[in-house]
Symmetry: C3
């Protein structure tokens, strides 16, 4: 379980670091700006989650691995061959970014729920789902506020809704289904809904 969580968290970290770094590139930021946005997006959701649950210092501060992975990922995105494709708005690249962002959203949503349960809140379905969604979307909101963009959650219609759609069953079924399987299925649900919504341009009433 612990090993699975670590793998999950590293995948989400890489995914969101790519997303944050690419946002920095699109804004014409220098190496440091790109790194800060990559790291903020990757660890921001987890820091907010830990503060809400009273876990201080936040886990990110105790385990350099997450910030280090995010920094290396951001540097890789900054390399000239990668940058060139970003500016060319290559289609495959756009698709890759969508996949990464969806994976990060799904992974961090279920990790948020798992962390809330470990913090003694496994009997509180509402809290677990709420914390899950905030963990899932928090990094992206921090990224957008820092970069001066309107947060993604207000523009990409089915974004927080996708997180919520996975968070609710995960929180409700937490005490009845093995966590390992439940987290995998719930994360997959978030990723699928987010991906389909982006591909078929689903949207909510306006």
């Amino acid at each position: 379980m612990a090993a699975l969580l670590l793998v999950f968290e590293l995948i989400g970290t890489v995914a969101f670091a790519v997303s944050g770094a690419m946002t920095g590139l699109k804004k014409g930021m220098d190496l440091f700006g790109v790194s800060i946005l990559g790291i903020s997006c990757a660890v921001g959701g987890g820091i907010i989650r830990d503060l809400l649950l009273g876990i201080t210092p936040p886990t990110t501060f105790l385990h350099p691995i997450y910030a280090a992975v995010a920094a290396v990922t951001a540097l890789a995105v900054f390399l000239p061959p990668v940058r060139a494709r970003v500016s060319a708005t290559n289609r495959i690249f756009e698709l890759l970014l969508l996949v990464m962002d969806s994976v990060g959203l799904g992974v961090f949503t279920v990790i948020g729920i798992s962390t809330a349960a470990s913090a003694g809140q496994s009997g509180n379905v509402f809290l677990m789902a709420f914390v899950g969604v905030i963990t899932g979307v928090g990094g992206g909101v921090l990224r957008d506020v820092l970069a001066g963009n309107t947060p993604y959650i207000f523009i990409k219609h089915i974004y927080a809704v996708a997180s919520l759609a996975g968070a609710l069953p995960c929180a409700v079924l937490w005490n009845y289904i093995p966590h390992y399987a439940l987290m995998l299925v719930s994360a997959a649900l978030v990723i699928t809904i987010r991906f389909l919504a982006a591909h078929y341009r689903w949207s909510l009433p306006k």
Copy 2:
């Protein structure tokens, strides 16, 4: 006392949910964006307050009633007949929004002070007043930062000043006057100052 606090908090929640939802409508957001802004504005001040006082998880996360009331309120604002009036910038509607926002500001300011006192800080006047003002204006600041607007507190001149004008006497007199009466009078003071300032366009030196 507890029942009064609950009624107060629900009034403030509805008031700020309306204010957040209307900000979303004016930005042309979809149903989900409007809901998120409504909920953020309604519960944001309380979450910041609890984090500052070391109350984790924040009360909002333990009692779904507040987020639920905010969500239902935001949905109601989103209904076509309501929306139509918002876009027409109906005068009565503008007035109602001003009233709601003033009520929310006054109510959350005194609830912030009451929460700080309950958290063992009743001997610290400065802290109580500071926490009161942050609780009062916090939800609106979160709403504006998320929506990409310049925070209201920098534009509406007598806003945080009104909150402070009610917070100071409330914090100073906390240990000398029955809390029930003190909170009512202090909240009324905030609401009156805010309302008169908006109506007569009072402003500070520029």
Copy 3:
């Protein structure tokens, strides 16, 4: 040691209050807006630091001296003779602002590390450096997000990098060198790098 820390923190508070207040003036804000930005910038980094370390209520809330010094400083900046020079973008004034901002960055970076060590984290180099940088740049980021500007750390190239350059040796050597000397040298390092980078327009690859 305690007296030195107090002097340090007051210097940083004045420096950042000036920087926040001048940002407000440049945005054409009124007296209250200028005060809020000055106070937010001066105490914001410390509040974020304390929340991350689990120190609640944050020190700023227990000792009114910091917010009071920041408020008086902001008021002084708002006085007509001062304001006139700000709008004239007087060269000496620009230089003074740069000096103040560099001093605040250096001072808050080492105070962040010292606070983390006092909170029982002196064995965790990564955490101390991370908290130091966040304390150093946090107030400025809060100022810029509230004012609706792109955060300074993304524009002034060697800014967070300067903080990090002082934070790393300070955190690594914390258990081996007297704190008094280490903090002075580390803060001086941050200030020097920041100042030279601004003067000679050093920048990172773009």
